[in-house]
Amino acid sequence: MISSPKIPTDLLWGLSTFFVVLAMLYLISVFYFRNKITKESKKIREKKKELSPIISEFLFYDEHGDKIEKINYIGLKIEVRELIKNPFDRKVLTEILMDLRKDVSGHTRTELFNIYQDLGLHEDAFKKLKSWRWQIISKGIFELTQMHVEEAYKPITGFINDKRGTVRKQAEIAIVTLKNEGISFFMDHTKYRISEWQQLKLLDVVRNKDDYIPPPFRLWLTSKNNYVVLFALRLIKHFNQNDANASLITLVNHKSNPIKREAIHCIKEFYVSDALSMLKQVFWKNNTDIKMHILDTIAEIGGEDEIPFLESIQEGTDTFMVKNKAVRAINTIQPEAILPTKDIEEYEIRTVAKTSDTVKPTEDSERIEEKNEDVDSNTLQKELVADTHYSNYRDSNLAEEKNKLSSLSNKNLIPVSRAKSLENDDALENEKDLTQEEIAFLPIVIDSNEDEIEATNQDRKTPINQLSGNFEEVIPEREIIPFNDNFLPLVVDGIDINPLNIKVVYEEVSFEKITKIPPLKDLEVYFELVLPSIKSSKETIENSQLLDFSGLKPIEPKQGNKNENKVNSDESNEFLEWPFNFENQLGDLEEIQIEIEEALDISRDNQILKPNFHSNEIMETLALLENIEELGDAREIPLLKAMLDTETSSIVLERIGFLLEHFNTQEQGFSIESIQEKEYSVFEELIDKGDLDSKIFLLNEIAELGDSKELQLLQTLVLDENKEIKKKAKKVLQLLKNRLKLEAENEDNLITSNKPVSIEELIKKDNPDFFKLNFEPITEGYDSNPVNKDPKHSSTLFDHLCNMSTKLYNRKND
């Protein structure tokens, strides 16, 4: 009894469950990854949409654009700086730039490259180069190449002989792309095979380079790497560097057939006729392919001397292709040296020639045609079976011969009478369409009768040199103007002419006298813009006050200067003492002052100061000013200003100017200290986050719009590491200080705009309202008075007097 085998159903159930679970897991994972990828691509798409306008803004930013555009640009730059902190955003930004690079060219593309580097996205690519995964490295190299990061040249050179083919090839292209000398480096260092495709790509890179001067590629014909030699030969051919003839001739003997072939191509290209003997010498050693190339080259550059060699090939070789090529070469050098002999039936030709007017298309001719076809095909088949390469050639030959025969049968064997009538019919038809003008270009043909034709036939029998010729005189339609060569110098051969004895005729050139003077109103007037120069302390040293020692040579110029200073300090120690402490406190001012000194330098190597003696009155004023400087502070500004208006001595005025400047700066210093805690510059954050361009732009804005709040920020920027920012900040600080000073002065001028008028003068004017004091004298400071801005301020006698006088003036003006 046969019983069915027991099936372990539990196992089956178990297996089924396992596979179902596996399938479920697979489906879930597929679904999960698909969703993830979709989500990510969607996210990237959205991000791209968000970032592309920013990129567009950067690309088409116009430096000369309006202020709104500039502010937008700065804002976007700050925004991007924030964005690129996120790796995902960096990735998207890189993708955007890489995508756009493919579609745009010119300036826009260059800008793309700049943006890529400005945003520091190339640093990611550099990181990729450090990866151990070949695909990541390859991507990094590709990215750096596409975005033309020249800095990457050196790190990429390390991959030139990488074992991993993809990385190596990517590195090769990168090196050749990034720098012009890259091709030289590559050819010097590569040890690996350069594939044909790679060679094409490299050639394409080199070809599309702007302003590229190729190196002499003959230098690599001696390379140990045969692929380098081959590539060099191709580059030589491409760049037409025909200065390596000897090397080319030598390379014809190379073991490698591709190199040999390429060398022969170069020889042909550059017409190196010296290579002919070598080509003939190596001909028999080579394979068919090379032989064909050699024959081609001989045909191109050879002369009649090569014909015996070519004939020997024609006779001595069994290869059909080589034989044919040799014949072709002979005929190229000496046209029609070998005439067609194969399957030429003389009878047929004669028949056609002699009986063309009598033979009709008969069955015989058709049979002949068929026979010819059979013969041709049979014989050709027999001959060409051995050579497989010949199949195409055979087909075309067969077709050609067939065409010849058919043309013979269809054309030449038509009875003349019929043909004539047909031609006439055609001609008549054509004549109907053509106008006289259209056929004007045709020669005039005179119709002739049969007798004339016979006569012409008789003429044909006479030798050509006995034929009488009719010459037609060609008369030009217009009279030819005789060529006048009088202007040319007379050149006499063999006669030495002394140039000093040649008579020279000078042409008198006289100027036309202007008899009429144009009216004044018609004269052009050029206006010169004269700008008032800013007074500096050094300007007071006039040239007239200096002794000129330019004629003398100072023995120790440095020592001399020291002495000069000593003398001055001895003479007027009081006013020559310079408040360097202040300048040291504000280091920036010192440098600026040095710059001014340099600009105003009056070659002090050759000049020293004259002794300058002042009157007692001036000396007293100077002593007072010295005391003010020593003991006073910003509160003395009004007094100094009043003195400035009354004093006439230049030395005193200079001293007052200096003290005013000194106290003003001191006052601003105080105000900064007081503001520091309370006020906050809006530019601070922007500058903090911005890049170099933004910072420079913002500094310009500060110079234009900033106020005292920006002073602190500028002082910080003066110490910046970046030289450009440092320099700019210094300039802006100075500008801002000047502007603030001017503003303060303007405010003062609003108060004391008129010249100071003494009380006596006012009384003299008999103003009845003068003594009507309808205001309360305020002891606290006047708002616009800079002295009162100081919270530590406590009024001095000078201030009270000044305030009083100011208020009186105001009252008077009201």
Partner: protein, 120 residues
């Protein structure tokens, strides 16, 4: 001046749109042929700048639609990848006024656009 810019490449369209807007043109952007068709039913732009390869409705079809169906003489500038000779020829045969091959300079597009508008 209104420009209809039809390109399925959002990035390039955004870039060109920005450049044209900066050049003083009103730009309407469409990312596919359908949108272009719908827009042209109700609007007549002064010039059309279109990519050849677009979903639903190619640039060539767009030229045909504008010239034959709508009988408009609006200048059309075609943008396409280099080396697509057949497309170029058929675009000109159907009545495109100008052809620009990628990569190109957006400023160049602006110049050509101005020239076409000047001609018309």
């Amino acid at each position: 001046m209104e420009v209809l810019l039809a390109d399925d490449d959002d990035l390039l369209a955004s870039l060109l749109g920005f450049r044209l807007k900066k050049g003083g043109y009103d730009v309407h952007q469409s990312s596919n042929g359908k949108e272009v068709k719908e827009y042209l039913k109700t609007n007549t732009p002064d010039i059309i700048v279109s990519d050849i390869m677009m979903p639903y409705f190619s640039g060539i079809e767009l030229i045909n639609y504008v010239r034959k169906d709508l009988s408009l003489r609006t200048p059309i500038i075609i943008i396409s990848s280099a080396g697509n000779e057949e497309n170029v020829l058929s675009a000109f045969e159907l009545g495109a006024n100008e052809f620009i091959s990628k990569p190109f300079s957006p400023t160049e597009l602006l110049v050509r656009l101005k020239r076409e508008l000047y001609k018309n």
